[in-house]
């Protein structure tokens, strides 16, 4: 079958130079852009599911295959129950309904499968089947072959408490919406009857029916607010939920009393409509946060990896990295990420340390060398003894730096909360003053006084205020989400909007984090070199293969760690290994030499390619009057060269993680800092900065420390995040202004007792609609 793939993939077509699977342009006119696409197309054809391509075209999606790092065995995640085995997978690369259809249809051909269901919103796949647990790996492999990256996960561990809370809010919202609509229906009859011929008996009947619908619904729907109000009061604080709870409870109780006295007005409609609007705001808020959180969990699960532990008898066991005990022997195959801190006890290899130190070039490592979790083993399988697990690892140390830095950030209080802190006491005082004023000046008894005080509470209830911030956040995060940008923290937008200084890391942030071939070499030499390079996971070898992907792997290639590759007399590697004369060279970047018997050695030059739109983004940010700074752990000359290309005037090189953090701290005295970085060495700086952004390819800790995570190769996402954050901030302030302006207008009316239920309903709905409408402007580009 491999042979079939190779032929399909190397057969050149002159008709069209687009990949037969993903539709991307292929560089040399091949039928497919990569082996993954060729394999996916073949599987789809075998299963007779070619209709997928029509469907995908109809959905306007491209179907580029997702890259899979090292597949995690699914078997340990399989849950065996009475009705068969269950497995949940995170799927990356899902773009549209056509993908969901393709995966479900392809899996349905497997005879063991009972049920497969793709959840497109959460990008998850739920599988169930009869038979041994090992079938899970077979099913996961089918999805993987279709060009999607999959990672098993445990649904129990993915915070179901948040889902439950969101569901409870949605249920409360449904109940409140039902009650609000029906009570309003009755209220409209009362209001229109009041100017017509409706008698007091009918009015009382309608009020009683309203009470019957509204009271149970209010009791049910006020719970989320009451809970939060009691928590706040118990802690000796007050928040927005306190006046909401008091207002709604008082209004309902008073309306019940008035209905019993067959009074003219009842405020059931105001109370329940208020709850309905507030629940919409609360639900939108939770939903957006939940979506961001699940997206982050998604990225984390896909980047997770396993550790292969070898016990004393030589048995191999695959566990999660956190389960590896100190002193255990761990096997790391070529291409795998090192799961723990340890010392090499067998083998020699090259390590890609980019995520840990920020260095762009791999470094050789041999017997006795110390390695850290997060490095990638490139050339050969090694064995290590896990040292320093748990609290002593480099990761844990960085975690402590993170925690210290983040505690400073948690002191930041969202604008809405700052407003609410001042607003809530003012509302209480206004209501109390109204009550006392009516008692003293009005001499009309306690009932009209209480009635006026309650209308003040209802009118000032922060309906528009409660919608002002969440609607903007939902619209903003939705707009960013569609572009592959995930907001993680609820206050991220506000903090990002305040940023004045943008600090970039180099490797993996401004650059794509992998070297690319940059010089012209004879086609024949390139073909030979790429053939050799097919056998290696070294980043420079991968770069050669990317330059000429259609070359089949040469057989019998021997890899010499830290030196290069050889095939008979042909050698590909560093200058010494290929016996090349480097003296006349001025190239200081990464390089490979190819030597063949009887010919002069050929040099291949590589460079960690700058992201395609990096220069443009930097220029754009400078135009927006951001101060752009480059901080890197890499060598001075490499950083300086990049800074010159991108025209970044301010740069610092060879910084340790702590030095980076200190530098960010120093910059913070001159203005709020937005840090953009990806490596483990950036994590403390990311946490220390006022706000932070990381690419989705970043190390786990860095993603965890960042406020926003962007997917894809385009750096323009950074400018887009800052732009959206600024617009969102402007809209939030406008909305708060609108909501407060409405109160300035309505409160005097309420204090004077002019607000009937009709006026309250009109005022509340119109202010809420105004605020929501204003927020929606952000959704348009």
């Amino acid at each position: 079958m491999t042979a079939a793939i190779l032929t399909a993939w190397t057969a050149p077509t002159t008709v069209e130079a687009r990949c037969g699977h993903c539709g991307r342009e292929t560089s040399t006119g091949q039928a497919f852009c990569c082996a993954g696409c060729a394999s996916a197309k073949q599987l789809i054809a075998e299963l007779g599911l070619d209709a997928y391509y029509d469907r995908r075209r109809a959905m306007g999606a491209s179907g580029q295959p997702a890259s899979d790092v090292d597949p995690i065995p699914a078997t340990t995640f399989v849950r065996t129950e009475k009705d068969g085995c269950h497995l949940d997978l995170m799927v990356d690369g899902l773009e549209c309904g056509a993908c969901a259809w393709l995966i479900e249809a392809a899996l349905a051909r497997d005879p063991a499968l009972d049920h497969a269901r793709v959840n497109l919103s959460q990008r998850r796949l739920a599988l169930s089947w009869h038979g041994p647990a090992e079938i899970g790996d077979r099913l996961a492999a089918i999805v993987r072959r279709l060009g999607y990256a999959v990672a098993p996960f445990d649904p129990e561990r993915l915070s179901t408490a948040i889902d439950a809370e969101e569901r409870d809010l949605l249920r409360s919202m449904g109940v409140a919406g039902f009650a609000a609509a029906n009570v309003m229906l009755l209220s409209v009859s009362v209001w229109s009857g009041a100017v017509g011929e409706m008698g007091p008996v009918t009015r009382d009947l309608l009020h009683w029916v309203s009470a019957l619908i509204a009271l149970p619904a209010i009791v049910y729907a006020v719970r989320p607010f009451a809970r939060s109000a009691f928590t706040a009061l118990a802690a000796g604080r007050t928040n927005m939920d306190v006046p909401i709870t008091i207002g709604v409870t008082l209004a309902s109780a008073m309306s019940l009393f008035d209905t019993w006295r067959s009074d003219e007005h009842a405020y059931f409609d105001s109370a329940i409509t208020l709850l309905f609007f507030l629940l919409i705001g609360r639900y939108l808020d939770r939903h957006a946060r939940g979506r961001a959180r699940s997206a982050v969990a998604h990225v984390a699960a896909l980047a997770a990896h396993s550790a292969t532990v070898v016990d004393a008898e030589g048995h191999v066991r695959i566990v999660r990295p956190s389960e590896v005990a100190a002193g255990a022997t761990v096997l790391v195959a070529a291409g795998e990420r090192i799961p723990v801190d340890g010392r090499i006890v067998d083998g020699a290899t090259d390590l890609d340390t980019a995520l840990v130190t920020g260095e762009s070039l791999p470094r050789p490592a041999g017997l006795g060398d110390t390695v850290h979790a997060g490095m990638v083993n490139l050339t050969r399988a090694i064995r290590l003894v896990a040292e320093r697990t748990g609290e002593a690892t480099l990761l844990a140390e960085i975690g402590r730096l993170l925690a210290a830095a983040e505690s400073g950030r948690s002191r930041f209080i969202a604008l809405a909360d700052r407003v609410a802190r001042r607003y809530a006491p003012v509302v209480h005082l206004a209501a109390l003053a109204t009550f006392i004023g009516w008692m003293v000046l009005g001499q009309a008894g306690w009932h009209p006084a209480l009635s006026a005080a309650v209308t003040v509470l209802i009118i000032t209830c922060p309906c528009a205020l409660a919608l002002a911030v969440p609607t903007v956040q939902v619209v903003a995060s939705g707009r960013l989400f569609r572009q592959g940008i995930l907001l993680k923290s609820p206050t991220a937008l506000e903090r990002l909007a305040e940023g004045r200084i943008v600090v970039f890391d180099k490797t993996g942030t401004l650059t794509v984090g992998r070297p690319e071939l940059v010089n012209e070499v004879p086609a024949e030499d390139l073909a030979i070199a790429a053939g050799l390079a097919q056998a290696s996971r070294h980043p420079l070898s991968r770069a050669l293969v990317r330059a000429l992907p259609s070359i089949p792997a040469a057989l019998g290639v021997v890899e010499h760690p830290g030196e290069g590759l050889s095939l008979g007399d042909i050698r590909l590697g560093n200058a010494r290994f290929a016996s090349a004369d480097r003296r006349a060279e001025d190239w200081t970047g990464p390089e490979l030499w190819l030597s063949r018997p009887g010919r002069a050695p050929i040099q291949f030059r590589f460079e960690d390619r700058v992201r395609a739109d990096a220069a443009e983004t930097i220029r754009h940010l400078t135009e927006l009057r951001y101060r752009v700074v480059l901080l890197s752990g890499d060598r001075s000359e490499a950083v300086g060269r990049l800074a010159a290309t991108l025209r970044i005037p301010e740069w610092h090189a060879e910084l340790s993680p702590a030095a980076k953090q200190a530098m960010v701290e120093r910059l913070a005295t001159e203005g709020p800092v937005v840090m953009v970085g990806d490596g483990i060495n950036d994590a403390p700086a990311l946490a220390k900065a006022h706000a932070s952004i990381a690419p989705a390819t970043a190390a786990d800790v860095s993603r965890a420390a960042a406020d926003a995570v962007f997917q894809g190769d385009r750096l323009a996402a950074v400018a887009e995040i800052l732009r959206v954050a600024r617009s969102a901030d402007r809209l939030v302030r406008q909305n708060l202004g609108l909501a407060l302006g409405y109160n300035l207008f309505a409160v005097p009316l309420a204090v004077l007792g002019f607000v009937t239920p009709l006026i309250a309903a009109i005022a509340m709905s119109s202010s809420s609609l105004l605020v929501v409408g204003n927020a929606l402007r952000l959704g348009r580009k």
Partner: protein, 56 residues
Amino acid sequence: MSGLLYLIPVALSLGLLGLVAFLWALRSGQFDDLDGAASRILFDDQKPLSSKEIDR
């Protein structure tokens, strides 16, 4: 006005029906994947027709 005596219960029970339907849909997980539901409706299943359907 006596029409109210049965119109109100009728209106309320219809509304209640809607509420029950909503709560049922929520409980049975129909709000879990809104994006999927939106595009899934465009694709018919590619299940082979059963012999009964072919005979018809």
